[in-house]
Amino acid sequence: MNGVEQGFAAKPMGADARAKIETWLWIAQRASAALLALCVLVHLATIIYAVRHGLSGAAILGRTRGNDAWLAFYSLYVFAIAVHAPIGLRTLCQEWLGWRDASLNWVIGAIALALFIFGLRAGWAVFAS
C-alpha cells in the first residue's frame, strides 16, 4: 500500500480521506481481479472456439448476433476491466513515473469511463440483434 504512505507524507491534510480512497481502490482491484479471473478463462475459451469455427465477419456475427446472455456476460466483463485496468495503470504511474498529484486521478477516471463506454459499444456491436 505505497499510495497510502505516500499520501500521508505528501499531504498531511485530509490524510484519512486519502487512506480510505486507497483502501477502497485496493479492494476494488482485488474484487475485479476475482471476477476477471472467471471472465478471462471464458474469454480464452471463446477465442480458441472462434479460431476453430471460422473467423469471417459472417461466421462471427452469425454466432454472436442476438445472443443476450453473451451480451450480458461481456458487459460484466467490460465493467470489471474498466475498474481493474485503470487502477493498475494508476499504481504504475505512481511508482514508475512518480506522478502522484490529483491530476492523475482525473486522467485515470477518464480512462475508466472511456474503457467502459467503448467496451459496452464493442459488445453491443457484436452481440446485439
Binding site: R30, G57, A58, W124
Partner: protein
C-alpha cells in the same frame, strides 16, 4: 545500495513474476482501446468487419495476436497467484505457484498458436 546489490535483490523468480505481471497488464491496457474500436466496426456492417479481419491475416498481426493471448494468460495466472498469496493461508508453496502460473500461461498461448 550499489547497482550490483540492487540487481541481485531483483534477480529472483518473485521479482520476475512481478515484472511480467506489470508489463503484461500495461500491454493489455494499450491493446484494449484498439480491440474495442475494432469490434465496434461491426456496427457499420459485416463488410466493414471483414475488411478489418482481412488486415489481421498478416503474419505480423497473427504473431501479435498470439503474444496477446500469451500475455492475457500470463496476467490471469500471475493474478491468480497474487490472489492466492494475499487471501489464502501461507503454506510456503510460492515457487510452486510461480511454476504453475508460468506453465498454465504457456499452455494457453500454445493452444491458441496451434489452432491458427
Amino acid at each position: 545500495m550499489s547497482m550490483k546489490n540492487d540487481y541481485r535483490a531483483r534477480n529472483h523468480p518473485a521479482w520476475w513474476a512481478f515484472l511480467v505481471h506489470r508489463l503484461s497488464g500495461l500491454a493489455l491496457s494499450f491493446f484494449l482501446p484498439f480491440h474495442f474500436l475494432a469490434l465496434g466496426q461491426a456496427l457499420q456492417g459485416e463488410a466493414r468487419l471483414n475488411t478489418l479481419l482481412r488486415w489481421t491475416e498478416q503474419p505480423l498481426v497473427k504473431f501479435s495476436e498470439t503474444m496477446l493471448v500469451l500475455l492475457l494468460a500470463a496476467h490471469l495466472t500471475g493474478g491468480l497467484r497474487l490472489l492466492a498469496l494475499e487471501f489464502l493461508p501461507w503454506r510456503g508453496w510460492q515457487k510452486s505457484l510461480l511454476a504453475l502460473a508460468a506453465g498454465a500461461a504457456l499452455a494457453a498461448g500454445l493452444a491458441f498458436a496451434l489452432v491458427l
